[in-house]
């Protein structure tokens, strides 16, 4: 545990000693801030319209959760799809390029500790990014009670989604010493996981069902609406476990191959 903590500390320093983390966090906040603003705008317009027509149309379903939070989480997930490869691309690639992996392999650190150190550090950067968007909920508070339970499960879902992105990115960073290649492979693979359900949606045969189940986006529908389903959590945790396992195998192969 102690070793993992030491490694996480170093990885976090590496993120914040370079401009990478700042650039990613800044752009993420800028974009998600815009989406929040746009969502609130639409919501206030819509509620104004509806209040005028309430007498004629009867009660309408118009909630912050459905009108602001769900689209915001959806949009943030897309931004994360673009940002996550940039966070993970350097993790092992840089060590391979500079040769510092040789020292890392000869320090008293197990492969598992090495992988967890890097993975948890990238996850913490993401957690910081998401935490910085929480004040948006504070703005909601100025006008009405924020839907805390939807926000909580939505954010947890988003964190799980991005944690999956990171595990895949970590794996691809072990494959190459070129950071760009690592980022491109990660982004491509994530995009495939993102869109693979589209063609099969609506089909009922087992193969289409399987493809839809494997699609990473499929499992974000519920959390973005504020519903955290065990099936989705299990999917994300298995996804993360699978790619962390592949990362470990890849490191082992690296050592044997020299």
């Amino acid at each position: 545990m102690r070793t993992i903590y030491t490694l996480v500390k170093r990885e976090l320093k590496a993120y914040f000693h370079s401009p990478i983390a700042y650039a990613i966090i800044f752009m993420f906040l800028l974009i998600s801030g815009y989406f929040f603003f746009a969502g609130m705008n639409t919501y206030s317009l819509a509620s104004f319209e509806i209040s005028k027509m309430a007498e004629r149309m009867g009660p309408q379903e118009l909630t912050i959760a459905g009108f602001v939070i769900a689209p915001l989480l959806g949009n943030m997930s897309v931004v994360m799809l673009l940002m996550a490869p940039l966070l993970t691309m350097r993790l092992f690639s840089e060590e391979k390029k500079t040769g510092s992996i040789e020292l890392l392999f000869t320090w008293p650190v197990t492969d598992f500790q090495m992988v967890m150190g890097k993975y948890l550090a990238s996850l913490m950067v993401v957690a910081i990014m998401l935490a910085l968007t929480l004040p948006y909920a504070g703005f909601v508070w100025l006008h009405t009670a924020p839907p805390w339970s939807s926000i909580f499960s939505g954010y947890l879902g988003l964190l799980l989604l991005v944690a999956s992105f990171l595990s895949l990115g970590l794996f691809f960073s072990t494959l190459t010493e070129n950071q760009i290649v690592s980022a491109v492979l990660t982004f491509g693979a994530l995009l495939i996981f993102w869109i693979m359900g589209w063609t099969s949606a609506g089909n009922t045969d087992w193969f289409s069902q399987l493809i839809v189940y494997l699609s990473i986006l499929e499992h974000f529908h519920n959390p973005s609406k504020g519903v955290l389903d065990t099936r989705d959590v299990v999917y994300y945790l298995s996804f993360i476990g699978f790619f962390l396992f592949l990362t470990l195998r890849s490191l082992e192969a690296e050592k044997i191959g020299g």
């Binding site: 030491t6 040789e102 020299g258």
Partner: protein, 345 residues
């Protein structure tokens, strides 16, 4: 302390190490010597547990490198050839990080340890510099500090003085020399005087095989002695002289005035006075003109080294060691093998 048994390493079809066996005693400073591409770095990587051997076993401090790599890693300090540090970190911060990984969990203890090692490697004045701004010499010393910080029983240093200026080389050498006794040190180098100066033992590796394993003095003694003579004679005189009992090898060079400058290498147990007398009588017989006869000398390590490498080259018919081969005359290549063979020890 360090035992290598029949270690082989293959990179694809290329055999980098071929059944290498040797032992290094506790407290020894052992030099790995060999031309570029001889397999020195590969051997060190296997000993440090960075990569497993394709065949054979390595034991360090009593632990097997395959079964107990973690125990070895706790007891070893390693400085790779390229000194790969984390360029964005500060010197003290980096050393603190490595110390923490090496098991110095208490903060106070770590601070003391880092300060002590920085003192020893003379980098205290640069402790808050960012590593990427340091010169090669300072970076090398941070690398050495990193290897020392865990207070390791075994130190493995891959070309520790490469890229340093002469003053730094002297400093680093004396630093390493002082590490012996308490610690077991393995260092690789292709600078002979360096090995001669620092090491108590030498392992000479060429084309992945062990060519010699001995102490410095043993190596010199086994290499025999050398007589130099300048004789006015035809080039073929060399063949005649080789027939005198006790001559191992003769390197002949023709001088502008027609004289031959001969470096004659004798067997270690050869009676030099008798040999010289026979040389003089042969000169008389053949009506050559003996211009100069220099007193016998111990063969310098450098010549021994080059001869070991080159005789190995002839045996393997390989041209892997061009760098060393380039400096030698053609005469040398067809030399007789000297008594040292591939399976020393």
């Amino acid at each position: 302390m360090i035992v290598a048994e029949n270690i082989s390493k293959k990179y694809g079809a290329f055999l980098a190490l071929d059944a290498l066996s040797f032992e290094v005693e506790k407290g020894d400073i052992c030099g790995f010597l060999g031309p570029n591409g001889a397999g020195k770095t590969t051997m060190m990587r296997i000993l440090t547990g960075y990569m497993p051997p394709s065949a054979g076993r390595a034991r360090v401090a009593g632990f097997d490198s395959m079964e107990n790599p973690m125990e070895i890693k706790k007891r070893i300090g390693y400085l790779p050839e390229t000194t790969p540090l984390y360029p964005d970190m500060r010197v003290a911060e980096y050393l603190d990080f490595v110390a923490e990984l090496k098991g110095f969990t208490s903060r106070d203890e770590r601070i003391r340890r880092v300060a002590g090692v920085m003192e020893g490697t003379m980098i205290t004045s640069r402790q808050s510099s960012i590593i990427k701004t340091l010169s090669k010499g300072y970076r090398q010393r941070v690398g050495l500090a990193q290897a020392l910080i865990g207070d390791p029983e075994v130190l493995v240093l891959d070309e520790p003085t490469i890229g340093l200026d002469p003053k730094q080389i002297v400093e680093i050498r004396s630093l390493i020399k002082n590490l012996g006794g308490k610690r077991t040190v393995i260092l690789s180098s292709h600078i002979l005087p360096e090995v001669q100066m620092i090491c108590s033992r030498v392992l000479i590796i060429n084309n992945g095989r062990l060519v010699a394993s001995d102490t410095i003095s043993g190596l010199s003694a086994a290499a025999g002695r050398k007589v130099s003579a300048r004789i006015k004679a035809p080039l073929q005189a060399k063949e005649d002289l080789l027939r005198i009992k006790g001559a191992l090898n003769i390197v002949a060079r023709e001088e502008p005035d027609g004289a031959l400058l001969l470096d004659i290498f004798l067997e270690p147990d050869c009676d030099i006075a008798r040999w010289r007398a026979e040389l003089v009588s042969m000169v008389g017989e053949k009506r050559w003109d003996l211009v100069d006869l220099l007193s016998s000398a111990v063969v310098p390590l450098e010549e021994t080294y080059i001869r070991l490498i080159s005789s190995d080259l002839v045996k393997s018919g390989d041209n892997g060691g061009e760098e060393a081969a380039g400096e030698r005359s053609a005469d040398d290549r067809e030399s007789h093998d000297i008594t040292y063979s591939g399976d020393a020890d």
